[in-house]
Amino acid sequence: MTGTNPTVAPSASTDDVATPVSSSAPGGLVKSVVELDRVVIRLAGDSGDGMQLTGNRFTSETASFGNDLKTLPNFPAEIRAPTGTLPGVSSFQLQFADHDVMTPGDAPDVLVAMNPAALKANLAELPGGGLLIVDADEFTPRNLAKVGYATNPLEDGSLEGWQTVSVPLTSMTLDALADSGLGKKEAERSKNMFTLGLLSWMYHRPTEGTIRFLERTFRRKPEIAAANIAAFRAGYNYGDTTEAFAVSYEIKPAPMKPGRYRNISGNQALALGLVAAGQRSGLPVFLGAYPITPASDILHELSRHKSFGVRTFQAEDEIAGIGAALGASFGGALGITTTSGPGVALKGETIGLAVMTELPLVIIDVQRGGPSTGLPTKTEQSDLLQAMFGRNGEAPVPVIAPRSPGDCFDAAVEAARIALAYRTPVMLLSDGYLANGAEPWAIPDADSLPDLKPAVDFATEPNGEDGEFLPYLRDPDTLARAWAIPGTAGMQHRIGGLEKADRTGNISYDPANHDFMTRTRQAKIDGIAASIPPTDVEDPDGDARVAVIGWGSTYGPIGAACRRIRTSGRKVAQIHLRHINPFPADLGEVLGRYDRVICPEMNLGQLALLLRAKYLVDVQSHTQVRGMPFRSAELAAVIQDAIDTGNPAAANGALQ
């Protein structure tokens, strides 16, 4: 099946609204160039094949070319599952386009399979007619047998429904590196760069960035750098000269707002947001954290920014991580802890202590599949109720969520603002999809970021009538208590987990005081609503009868689904929540405007439960917990059904 001329048009199942392909084949060239408005590529291989690196490099090339993009890394929890097996398959999908895209795409237009396992694990998701590139060298009897192929799919005709290009990627890489001095095993490892070179040719990607990257990464191993660059160039040149690929593709840059851009992942953006929050508040940042997937990259990133006075402490466990952060907050730092769901479970008691002591603290939960150890490398939104209620006693905590990788930056700054201004722990719910996914990000001016200094306001003078310091005397507007830090003379005080007497903060077992303090702590969190913007509603015509409400990383898939609906001539409103506790003050009124409200979530209906409880609105829950983001086509079908039939029954998991 080699030697075909792939003509790839975006399949109907991808997420954004397809526009007709404007093809052009410049005359005079042996090879033709086809213009596409967008492409979804999935790279799949063994977890040792370097697919994530390849994907990240292709992403960087694509970002610097000026396309809009979204990425979806997908890898197993095992560092190296047995080679060539289905559990060891790692993949990286990205969608890039000449217009803004909201998701990494429902299904790939192009699948690169580095071995039989990668083919078997991913082929079902490649729509018929899609382009399939495989490494022919890996389709050995032994590798085929490992994944249960009785015959070689490259030869038995079973791939006839796709445009299959079978390329001996491994042996061509070895040929290219024959003079590199590297052994066979080492040289073979560059096959991902050969593949990247081929794709870079196919999609007219700039190559300088990757060459610089390889030189930088392997600066201490120049022979490895040289081999990877040679393989990368060989792959590019192969595309240019081979007859196997007669066509290459052009995807024009997407129109974006003027400004300076970079590519950024959610975890990177969170880390930078936390550094920025420290700078904008004038407080030293202290991170206490224990390694956990998929949050560890925030610890790694922050540990590199000591020049900003950022202290990172890798604790002995999750509890010590948050404990140290709270201790640092007591001393006047911006205390932060980062974790995933299982870590939040362990931190619960300390979060309660932070609620009681009313100290600022930012808790970042990069959610993953649960319960228990669950699916460490897969995404889910199932910690919302844990964030809301996972503590003993009445222990309200503000909850916010970012909607995209770049938005993680703003969410981190907002979490710090609330924590400092209201002297409270704040829960920021990211997830695995946001954490590892990437997108172009408009780099903000540091001076344009919120000024958090007014929120700090350390107490330095006694505030009581008798010249004493009252640590639980509150700001009448925010209800934040006075925050005096150790080292400040005359302000010595003791705080702790026992119930506090109003104003003095002394231990109090008085029933009326406990009732008052419990209600006051709740009122303080509820009052945050006064400081947040009104509900974010996107309803271009302003008269939709059906609204879709979401939070967190479902923003992209829901947004893409809403575009589809609108393109079909129907009307739908998209409501997306940054603040989940407290909700925006107008949310109840906003929900009341619509005949139907649909709530897609990657859990079994946790936000829907909160909305129903608070607003008595008959929210229709649509849920999935497959460890992967929603497909926008599927969401569009649910929305369309609700609009057309008045029947919003979900395809699965609907709350009845």
């Binding site: 851009y261 508040s281 404990g323 201790g327 640092a328 001016d445 200094k453 003078e461």
Partner: protein
């Protein structure tokens, strides 16, 4: 006036950059530090609510009368505690304090001490708090050598929950939760701390004001984590637990006083002594049966913790042959100082520029 040296190793003169301005401003707002204190300056208006006769009162008094001698202003001292009878301690000290949650005081104090090297940070904990629910935090604080002083009140019982056996209770102890006797082998807190490579480990008796004060003084002056085990009588649930050592008739017989540079001779008329055994450990001998040169001369500064560990193993569960004093006191860089040094090093090229950080590596510009 004591200087605030946030983010900097002791003795460094370069300011840590603008990050600590808010803290520095707050801390310096009051001008001169008042360091000439009296014991009463450290008392609070809170009613002390330990049971009458509790050993905690004695310890509180000893601490309040000894702390002024350190010359540290009240506002620069922070006492962090966990949960248990001993952990009420911060409420009675006119310093900054946090009465936190069960077992976690060393973790909280670590964050505070690491981010505020200008403070004198103390942890007050008990045998249940430090060795059971908080055992993990204790050993890691000790191995990291964060600059703090941990006072471990050991009464060998759970007092606040009304009398269950603790991780230091002796085997066979009959308590509310062990009607047929405890099956748990107890921890020896000093051995545990030395096993974690603690740089300072001492032991004192609540009723021995002089000995307690001396160990506390050395602990407070030590740079790094100090652990002081204080035998403390719970007169309600475990009364007389340390009577063997307190009773003037038996105490001298079973107590081995540790004095740096002095031979380990003890007991009435110095009848007993400590010598090396044949297996790299120590044993008790009768002084008149051994050569004087064979008697061990106490050296708390030995780098290798094996000697101090061997000392800690001399005592039995029933407290016979209990060494009291400073087991080990060695100098190692403290965690907070090393952390500050890394920050200092990172800032040698000037403090970080936020705009440069946000721009990161590869960027591209879209023009209108």
């Amino acid at each position: 006036m004591s200087t605030i040296d946030l983010g900097m190793p002791a003795g460094s003169s370069t300011p840590p950059g603008p990050i600590a301005d808010a803290i520095t401003a707050s801390v310096e707002s009051q001008g001169e530090k008042q360091t000439a204190l009296k014991g009463k300056d450290l008392k609070t208006d809170q009613e002390v609510r330990w049971c009458p006769g509790c050993g905690d009162y004695v310890i509180l008094n000893a601490v309040q009368s000894f702390l002024p001698s350190l010359g540290i202003a009240r506002e620069d001292m922070v006492i962090v505690s966990g949960i248990g009878c001993s952990s009420r301690f911060p409420y009675y000290m006119n310093t900054y304090g946090m009465h936190s949650i069960h077992g976690r005081a060393p973790a909280i104090a670590t964050g505070l001490a690491a981010s505020r090297p200008d403070l004198s940070v103390w942890v007050v904990t008990g045998d249940g708090d430090a060795l059971s629910i908080g055992g993990n935090h204790l050993i890691h604080a000790l191995r990291r050598n964060v600059n703090m002083t941990i006072l471990l009140f050991n009464n060998r019982i759970y007092g606040l929950t009304k009398g269950q056996y603790s991780p230091t209770s002796e085997i066979g102890k009959v308590t509310k939760s062990t009607p047929m006797g405890s099956l748990d082998h107890p921890f020896n807190p000093v051995s545990l701390a030395l096993g974690a490579d603690a740089t300072f480990v001492g032991r004192a008796m609540d009723s021995d004001r002089k000995g307690l004060t001396e160990v506390l003084r050395q602990a407070a002056e030590h740079q790094g984590t100090s652990l002081v085990e204080i035998y403390q009588n719970c007169n309600i649930f475990n009364d007389g637990a340390f009577e063997l050592l307190k009773d003037p008739a038996t105490g001298p017989m079973w107590t081995i006083p540790l004095e740096h540079g002095k031979p380990l001779v003890f007991g009435p008329d110095g009848a007993s002594c400590v010598v090396r055994d044949d297996f790299g450990g120590l044993r008790i001998a009768e002084t008149n049966q051994v050569d004087a040169s064979g008697i061990v001369v106490h050296d708390a500064t030995r780098e290798d913790p094996s000697y101090a560990f061997a000392l800690s193993r001399l005592s039995s569960q029933d407290l016979r042959y209990t060494p009291m004093g400073v087991f080990r006191s060695v100098q190692k860089p403290s965690y907070d100082a090393m952390m500050a040094e890394q920050l200092h090093e990172a800032q040698l090229q000037g403090p970080g520029e936020l705009d440069a950080l946000l721009a990161g590596g590869d960027t591209w510009t879209v023009t209108a």
